[in-house]
């Protein structure tokens, strides 16, 4: 094992590997690199913090790889992980490295963690120039670009001076030269392909071709990819408001590519790449829709979005008709195709029956409808119990047994995202308002019930008065001369037959 090399600008003590932001990596990025990298590059450079898996992949696809890390301790750790001679680990800053040209340069982590505190105050274009300057004429260069106009950033409730930990010994993000839109990235770099990059605290969750992200609309598979990616980013950001509201608006505006948390710029010749990458799938968008493996998913609006719209319009007949078609899971990844639906990339739970999948779909739909405070026409007692899911299941032609409801809930919960540690401010306020409204409504309900009781009391009083009146009338009737005459006549009638009368008297005396 050789030691690490050190060039100017290294920092210590420091780490970029156990920071609030992980080194660049993740299965989606690895899948992309597997497609994009040349079979065997001669000299490769990985600049900035990248995951071990990524470095391992680059090492496998090159004769030699140099890894430039600004932290000495990170470099030392990396050296231990990659002791072979095919990997050189250099501790230092980008401005201290001058051993190009490379025919593969990877700076997927971006250009914000490549300088040290002793480095000159280089703006973004100057740092980009250093990276591209290390590349040979036909090199493949990959550069991550953080987006200052990203939705998660815009919705970040922290003040700007509290978002970047100890990284900003100089105000790196207060840089007017930094590209903050797809067009500005394309203007700043000779880009061959640009991906909107969605990350979970630095680890790539989804890559979506920026043009495809701009072209998609709410509810379509492309928008779902972007929204899932944004949700992954948002999960690590304390937010002012739920990210989906803004994301839907951005999708309508054709701006999903512009509000991604960042981009991955591909410069130079890459292998054949797909339109989108997730941790589990590679997808291509064509005229027929999205190709996933050997399946085609139509580029239509998801069942969930259609149902959300019908619920918001309080169009229950329309909702009922659409719900009659639901036969799979999950609604947010089912797309109308012919008479039925085509499933997107979500794998259905193994071994679940059709009825269980439909039940899981409706539980998930309810949870997402309510959590987002979406408009709908159903009363709270239906929402709070299983009645709403039972009703929807009925619309789908499935009878809701207690066992089915329990199973559906269980399956849906297995797919639910982890609850945010701290709810966003708007949701917290909306929840509070909802609680206040509920209190007011329940108070009103008590009022209504009391009034009903009052009506019923009045009704009872009326009946009681009628009964008393009847009793009085009966009493008067009993005391009336007519009834007295009737009683006398009855007694007289008894002695009309003397023998019978005598027998009766005799019997009575004996008894």
């Amino acid at each position: 094992m050789t030691d690490i090399e050190v060039v100017r600008g290294e920092i210590q003590p420091w780490t970029d590997y156990t920071s609030y932001r992980k080194p660049a990596g993740g299965d989606a990025l690895l899948a992309f690199l597997t497609d994009a990298l040349p079979a065997k590059a001669a000299r490769a450079l990985v600049a900035g913090p990248h995951s071990h898996e990524l470095i391992r992949l680059v090492a496998a696809r090159s004769e030699h790889v140099t890894v430039l890390i600004r932290s000495v301790s990170d470099a030392t750790d990396l050296r231990e992980a990659f002791p072979g001679s095919e990997v050189t680990v250099i501790a230092g800053a980008l401005d201290g490295l001058a051993n190009g040209p490379y025919d593969l340069v990877i700076a997927a982590d971006g250009l914000d963690r490549v300088l040290g505190y002793d480095s000159p105050a280089l703006n973004w274009p100057q740092r980009a120039a250093l990276v591209t300057g290390l590349a040979g004429p036909d090199a493949l260069v990959l550069i991550g670009v953080e987006n200052e106009f990203g939705l998660a950033g815009l919705y970040d409730r922290r003040p700007v001076d509290a978002r970047h930990g100890d990284d900003e010994w100089r105000p790196l993000h207060d840089d007017p030269e930094r590209p903050t839109s797809p067009d500005q990235v394309l203007a700043a770099l000779p880009v061959a392909r640009l991906y909107a990059s969605f990350d979970a605290a630095g680890e790539t969750h989804t890559l979506l071709d920026a043009a495809a992200a701009a072209a998609t609309r709410p509810g379509r598979p492309g928008a779902r990819l972007a929204l899932e990616g944004l949700a992954a980013t948002a999960a690590h950001t304390p937010l002012v408001a739920p990210i989906n509201t803004g994301a839907d608006a951005a999708a309508r505006a054709g701006l999903l590519g512009a509000v991604a948390p960042g981009w991955l710029a591909v410069l130079g010749p890459a292998g054949a790449t797909h339109t989108a990458y997730t941790a589990t799938h590679s997808l291509d968008l064509g005229d027929a829709g999205w190709t996933v493996g050997d399946r085609v998913v139509p580029d239509t609006v998801s069942a969930e979005t259609e149902l959300f719209r019908l619920a918001a319009a309080e169009d229950v007949p329309g909702f009922r008709a659409f719900a009659a078609r639901v036969d799979d899971f999950p609604l947010d990844d089912l797309y109308p195709a012919a008479d039925g639906f085509a499933r997107g990339i979500t794998e259905a739970p193994e071994g679940a029956s059709r009825e269980e999948l439909v039940a899981a779909s409706w539980f998930r739909f309810r949870d997402r409808l309510i959590a987002a405070h979406r408009r709908h026409p159903w009363p709270p007692w239906m929402v709070d119990s299983d009645d709403l899911v039972t009703t929807w299941l009925g619309m789908s032609g499935v009878e809701a047994t207690p066992e089915l409801l329990a199973r559906g809930r269980e399956l849906a919960e297995a797919f639910a995202p982890a609850e945010a540690e701290v709810p966003d401010v708007a949701t917290a306020l909306a929840d509070t308002d909802e609680d206040k409204k509920r209190i007011k409504e329940l108070t009103g309900k008590v009022f209504g019930l009391e009034r009903t009781l009052r009506f019923r009391d009045q009704s009872l009083k009326t009946r009681e008065a009628q009964l008393r009146k009847f009793r009085d009338e009966l009493r008067q009737y009993r005391n009336s001369p007519v009834l007295k005459l009737h009683d006398t006549a009855k007694k007289v009638a008894k002695i009309r037959h003397p023998k019978q009368f005598a027998r009766a008297v005799k019997k009575k005396l004996k008894g």
Binding site: E314, P377, P379, W381, M382, S385, T391, K437, R451, Q458
Partner: protein
């Protein structure tokens, strides 16, 4: 929740639809629309408690109510439509045997404590117009508020019409004729035409039961009528196809389906959930 819900036995019908006791029906957690309405489903000054749910026949009252800052609407379809399903044969005769016109006079209302309002208009002129228009026997249906006004009832009887009354809608859960709509439905199903001097609930019921509609004659005035929702002129603007002596039946049926909320009718299970009529542990 509110005694109006028992008017005409409407809650009773819905309870029966749900497979529940229709003699002593369960409580509806809010307000049930009890008549066709050009506004939010209720009269302009109707009071609601906070958080009340409003169960209306069709979507239009929901939209109008929303504009009045009212929320918590649910559309159920008119109870009469459910009754028609529950009683498919009640009063039914062969189409060829249907005859005559069931003519509804726009009615007033009353309530204990001197509440209520009378209608005022030229009955003689209306009678003349009915005689000029109708070619088959006419039966006049008076609501009890007019039926019990001897002067009004006599005017129509003396004109040679049969005069009937379907009963009382009740008040404070008292005096509710829960067979009110049953009787009305049975009647509709033997008449060829339904007519009135105002576009009102009975016309829509009649069309739903297969009658040809007509709306003509002096619309008469109602004491204290609140024109907040636009009154008769708004009706003329919104439903001109439902006014006149010869109305296109197909158009009338389509409008009736809309106004009675035919597409909104729900299964017994769905309605039990909507009214919170399921038992929860």
């Amino acid at each position: 929740m509110h005694h109006h819900n028992h008017y005409y036995g409407l809650t009773h019908i819905l309870a029966r639809h749900c497979g529940l006791d229709d003699e002593f029906p369960p409580r509806i957690p809010g307000y049930l629309q009890h008549g066709w309405n050009v506004g939010c489903g209720w009269n302009p000054v109707h009071e609601f408690f906070d958080g009340a749910w409003r169960f209306v026949w069709s979507d239009a009252p929901r939209r109008r109510g929303h504009a009045l800052s009212r929320r918590n609407y649910a559309v159920t379809g008119a109870p009469m439509l459910y009754l028609m399903d529950l009683e498919p044969d009640l009063g039914k005769v062969k189409e060829s045997e249907r005859e005559g016109t069931l003519w509804f006079l726009f009615h007033g209302w009353d309530a204990p404590g001197g509440l209520g309002a009378k209608i005022e208009g030229d009955h003689a002129r209306l009678i003349s117009e009915i005689k000029e228009t109708e070619t088959e026997p006419v039966t006049i249906s008076l609501y009890y508020t007019e039926y019990e006004r001897a002067d009004v009832r006599r005017a129509y009887e003396e004109a040679g019409f049969e005069v009937i009354c379907f009963g009382k809608r009740g008040w404070n859960y008292e005096g509710t004729d829960r067979k009110f709509l049953y009787k009305q439905l049975a009647a509709f199903r033997r008449f060829k035409r339904v007519a009135s001097n105002r576009l009102a609930t009975a016309i829509f019921y009649g069309v739903a039961a297969g009658c040809e509609p007509a709306v003509y004659g002096d619309a008469m005035a109602l004491e204290g009528d609140n024109p907040l929702f636009g009154g008769q002129s708004r009706i003329a603007r919104l439903w001109p196809d439902m006014l006149g002596k010869d109305i296109d039946l197909a158009t009338a049926r389509a409008i009736t389906d809309d106004e009675l909320g035919k597409d909104w009718m729900m299964s017994p299970a769905e309605m039990r959930s909507l009214f919170d009529w399921n038992h929860h542990d």
